[in-house]
């Protein structure tokens, strides 16, 4: 029997993996993938809460759909920026983003 706890643990683990990836990865696109994992763990949370705690209303599902849409928009802008950096630098490594510092 899969209970709410299982989903929450999965989401928490996914969130931590995503955070780890976003902080440690050197490639900007990989950082984005880590952030996507974090956002999707939130979606799992929301849908699981909706299913187990308040199945009568679909608020959690609606929230999850909004998050997906906004994340897609964010990634579209982010990837466009990464491409524009890549044209100048021939690199997508975040370590090369070093014009602005201290």
């Amino acid at each position: 029997m899969i209970t709410l706890q299982h989903y929450l643990i999965l989401a928490a683990a996914l969130f931590c993996i995503g955070l780890f990836g976003a902080v440690t990865k050197k490639n900007a696109i990989a950082v984005f993938m880590g952030i996507e994992l974090m956002l999707n763990s939130v979606n799992i949370n929301l849908v699981a809460f909706n299913r187990f705690l308040a199945p009568a209303k679909l608020t959690g599902h609606v929230f999850a759909i909004f998050i997906m849409v906004v994340a897609a928009a964010e990634v579209a802008v982010g990837l466009a920026l990464i491409i524009s950096i890549y044209r100048h630098r021939k690199s997508t490594a975040v370590d090369d983003l070093n014009l602005l510092k201290w």
């Binding site: 952030i35 956002l39 524009s84």
Partner: protein
């Protein structure tokens, strides 16, 4: 459905869409006209909002959206900031190779996002407003495609803000799980039943981290110096004023209206954030060589001062915050307009390039001086009155040590502000070329320094306005 609660938002959205069309229709050499349309339109909407026809209060869409005196106050502040920023941009957009028409439209959508944020009465609406603002700001930050710094700032901003909103969302999902609803009203009812335990505290911490990023409170401040330096200067001004004010508006609403029953759990976190922000912001501003970076750290320090109003957690504290945010917008607009005027000529933002500025342009010197002295809190500029109210509100609640820290760091801040003034008055003159200031920029400079002086000398009307707004939070 009562649409009168969202009239202002509808008008701003319409204006943004109109600008998108006119931006395409205008001939390439006259894209600047789009900026004038935006200024005139926004002035009209601001007058409409101030005249009170837009409704005093009300809710929209089954209570998901609310118009009250707090959101109305902030919307008017955002519009003033946007008008000043658009005026600043008029002379700046000639640097952009393309998209001169779209620039103003995206700026208005950022404004719309802020308005949705302050009016939201529901976590989903809040998130949508936040992201509308953030994504628009990312585009604006990276708008100068000829500058590698600008693109780099854009990438950094999008990565870090996406990460911060993921943390914020995790907190919001826990809120939803605890209460089964995303509406503030239902959530407040659920909190009153009590006994929510550590999960609630975790969620509060995550939400505070998410908005701490927006207001650039230490330790969530690392993005702001880089983004402030890389972004086009008018956008830096908008980030420092509008985006920060929006973050504070949401924090005021969440902490004082939704979560006041949990005050004992988060008051320590707020105090820690405020102390760290004031100290770190002021100390790291000292060695900065780039004026935009220096102003970024000074704006971090100011976020710390404004946080003091949340430490006080009273109507008086909120009133002081509202007042401070208002005058802070004018001080920042004046400072960034001066920086824009100089960088239009030299293309550089280094402090040493301000050397001998009073010979080249007395106006730029005077405006920058007034703005910096206001930020430092020297009377008769308005910053003094603002700081006085903030510090008085925490002393009244018994945080004398905190007020002493803030006053001490305020003295430290005087050092790096006066350094800039010293360079302007006595520094080495780099070039004799006079700095000509375009009329639009001149307007911003004159209006903002006049407002700074006026509100410092005659603060009465504004304080009675802010305290009437804040009276909804009197315990």
């Amino acid at each position: 459905m009562d649409f009168s609660a969202v009239t202002i938002e509808i008008l701003v959205a319409l204006l943004g869409l109109v600008l998108l069309v006119t931006g395409l229709l205008l001939p390439p050499d006259h894209k600047k006209a789009n900026g004038y349309i935006a200024v005139v339109g926004l002035l009209g909407i601001l007058a409409f909002s101030l005249s009170g026809d837009a409704g005093r209060s009300g809710t929209f869409l089954y209570g998901l959206y609310t118009l009250d005196s707090l959101s109305k106050y902030f919307k008017e502040i955002f519009m003033i900031a946007a008008i000043l920023v658009i005026l600043m941009s008029l002379s700046y957009t000639k640097r952009f190779r393309e998209g001169k028409g779209e620039y103003f439209s995206i700026l208005l959508f950022a404004l719309l996002g802020m308005m949705v944020m302050v009016s939201s009465n529901d976590f989903i609406t809040l998130y949508i407003g936040l992201e509308l603002m953030t994504i628009s700001f990312v585009i604006l930050t990276a708008f100068d495609r000829s500058s590698l710094k600008s693109s780099e700032a854009g990438v950094k901003y999008v990565l870090l803000s996406a990460m911060s909103s993921a943390v914020l969302l995790y907190g919001l999902s826990i809120f939803y799980g605890l209460s089964g609803t995303t509406e503030y009203a239902g959530f407040i009812t659920c909190l009153q039943s009590g006994g929510l335990g550590p999960a609630l505290i975790l969620a509060i911490v995550m939400v505070l981290a998410g908005f701490g990023f927006k207001i650039s409170a230490v330790p969530f401040h690392m993005w702001s110096p880089d983004i402030y330096e890389g972004a086009p200067t008018p956008i830096t001004a908008f980030l420092a004023t509008g985006s920060k004010a929006a973050g504070f508006a949401v924090l005021i609403r969440l902490l004082l209206q939704v979560l006041p029953s949990q005050h004992v759990n988060f008051s320590g976190i707020i105090i820690m954030l405020a102390v760290l922000t004031i100290i770190v912001g002021n100390l790291i501003a000292i060695p900065q060589k780039n004026i935009k970076r220096m102003l970024a750290f000074s704006s971090i320090a100011h976020a710390g001062y404004i946080l003091l109003g949340l430490v006080a957690f009273t109507g008086m504290g909120v009133g002081a915050m509202l007042y401070y945010i208002f005058i802070y917008i004018f001080a920042n607009a004046g400072a960034f307009a001066s920086v824009t005027a100089l960088s239009n000529i030299t293309g550089s933002d280094e402090i040493e390039d301000f050397g001998g500025m009073w010979k080249r342009s007395p106006l730029v010197t005077a405006v920058l001086m007034i703005s910096l002295l206001s930020m430092a809190g020297i009377p008769p500029a308005a910053g003094f009155v603002g700081k006085f109210y903030l510090f008085a509100s925490i002393i009244k609640e018994g945080y004398v040590w905190l007020a002493l820290v803030a006053i001490g760091m305020s003295v430290v801040s005087l050092y790096y502000y006066v350094m800039v003034i010293r360079v302007m008055l006595t520094g080495q003159v780099k070039s004799d070329e006079p700095v000509t200031v375009p009329a639009s920029l001149k307007t911003v400079m004159v209006v903002s320094s006049a407002a700074t002086i006026f509100l410092g000398v005659y603060a009465g009307p504004l304080t009675s306005w802010t305290s009437s707004v804040a009276s909804m939070f009197v315990k």
